[in-house]
Amino acid sequence: MNSFMSDFYQHWPEWWPRLAEAAKMTAKLSSAGFVMALLVGAILVAMIRGGNPVLRFAANFFIQFVRTVPLLALLLALYFALPPLGITLSGFWAGVLGLGLHGAAYVAEILRGGLQSLHRGQREAALSVGLTPNQAFLHVVLPQALRVMLAPLVNTYVALLKDSSLCALIATDELMLVARAMSSEYFLPLHIFLLVGLFYFAIAFPLSMMSRLLEQRLSRGRRVIGAT
């Protein structure tokens, strides 16, 4: 155990800058993926709720497709299978696109669920006091729906953060790829992969705790209206 720890002390000055750099990349990758997931997810929900049956079918089909296909297959397809069709993406952007499309399916479910959780009367009341449909959505429906959506959205970000580790397989310089390179340099795989796990944990765990707190706090004052 002692020699185990001393290996850490000995190599820490060399390891820290490389892992910190890689962690920045992981953060960038997962954040960009999350932003894209939010945008695409919102578009999907708009397509589902818009009333056009073709668009609704397309959105539902997309969500179903993404949920039955492993993220790794999606990433490898975006990275390797698009260039023959004339579209070449760097590892980073293929990763962002893959994480974004994958996350969008989950975000769409959360947004849809959040909007559905509100009583219909909320919107009707807003319209009846003279708000336009847009105002009713922005000032009445959305703020209330957001509190339902917030905790699951944070969970989605944590999931994307962990999933971003798969981008190591499409040559993105994030934590997992750097860790693999380091483990073959130093021959200390156990040290390095545990340490990298700790890096992920350090970002993911506080967020998971936050989402749990949010869930408790935001549901506290909420009056549940009879289901319709």
Binding site: F65, R67, T68, V69, P70, L71, L72, A73, L74, L76, A77, F80, A81, P83, P84, L85, V158, K162, D163, S165, L166, A168, L169, M176, A179, R180, S183, L188, P189, L190, F193, L194, V196, G197, Y200, F201, A204, F205, S208
Partner: protein
């Protein structure tokens, strides 16, 4: 070779990987469900601070670190102690241990949702605590958590693809090998996706069928 022949070659190669993928999923499922039930039972019915803390840290570690990191620790890391596992065993162990943590959360919530009277009634008619757990609480808990178990299972089937990173010969592993030998990149990945869909969809369909069946019997 015509395009159809190429497709059949790709499909038959990937099918071999599908068998491995299902083996990994089944093995991990067994570990995850039995581990999850044991952990959830322990934190629900044994009031031991140390035990609860230990299980809670296990769950948080497993759930907040990517599965890929767990697989690397088990496959590459354990070699430090001269424990060398085959990729298949490492994948089953890794995914199973993550699954046990995920299912423990689900099962514990399921136990909590049962009315306390269920347990009291069973004990008052003379059942032992063990019988109460096995014949009264566990079946009801499984029924409550059934949809979540179904979601977990389809997630697990997809996550077997991660095992290709430790060279377990499953679908994505063969797909990547085929790409370097045939260059039919687009066709290969499309076939791989179809193959996953044709495994995941029937399983999740089966779970919801079984759920309807249970609902009807109630």
């Amino acid at each position: 070779m015509t395009q159809i022949d190429v497709f059949w070659t790709i499909l038959s190669t990937l099918m071999g990987g599908a068998i491995t993928a299902v083996q990994i999923a089944v093995g991990a499922f067994v570990i995850a469900v039995s581990g999850g039930i044991m952990l959830a039972t322990s934190i629900t019915f044994f009031h031991l601070r140390v035990l609860k803390l230990f299980i809670a840290s296990y769950i948080e570690w497993m759930r907040n670190v990517p599965a890929l990191a767990h697989l690397f620790v088990i496959y590459f890391g354990l070699a430090t102690f001269d424990i060398r596992l085959s990729p298949l065993v490492a994948a089953i162990l890794g995914l199973g241990m993550v699954g046990a943590a995920v299912l423990c959360d689900i099962f514990a919530a399921g136990f909590k949702s049962l009315h306390a009277g269920q347990r009291e009634a069973a004990l008052s008619v003379g059942m032992t605590p063990r019988q109460t757990l096995l014949h009264v609480l566990l079946p009801q808990m499984l029924r409550v958590t059934w949809p979540s178990l179904g979601n977990y299972t389809s997630q697990l089937l997809k996550d077997t693809s991660i095992a290709s990173a430790i060279a377990a010969p499953e679908i994505m592993f063969f797909a990547r090998n085929l790409v370097t030998s045939t260059f039919e990149t687009t066709l290969i990945y499309l076939t791989a996706m179809l193959l996953y869909a044709s495994i995941v969809l029937p399983v999740s369909w089966g779970f919801s069928k079984a759920e309807n069946h249970m609902e009807n019997k109630r």
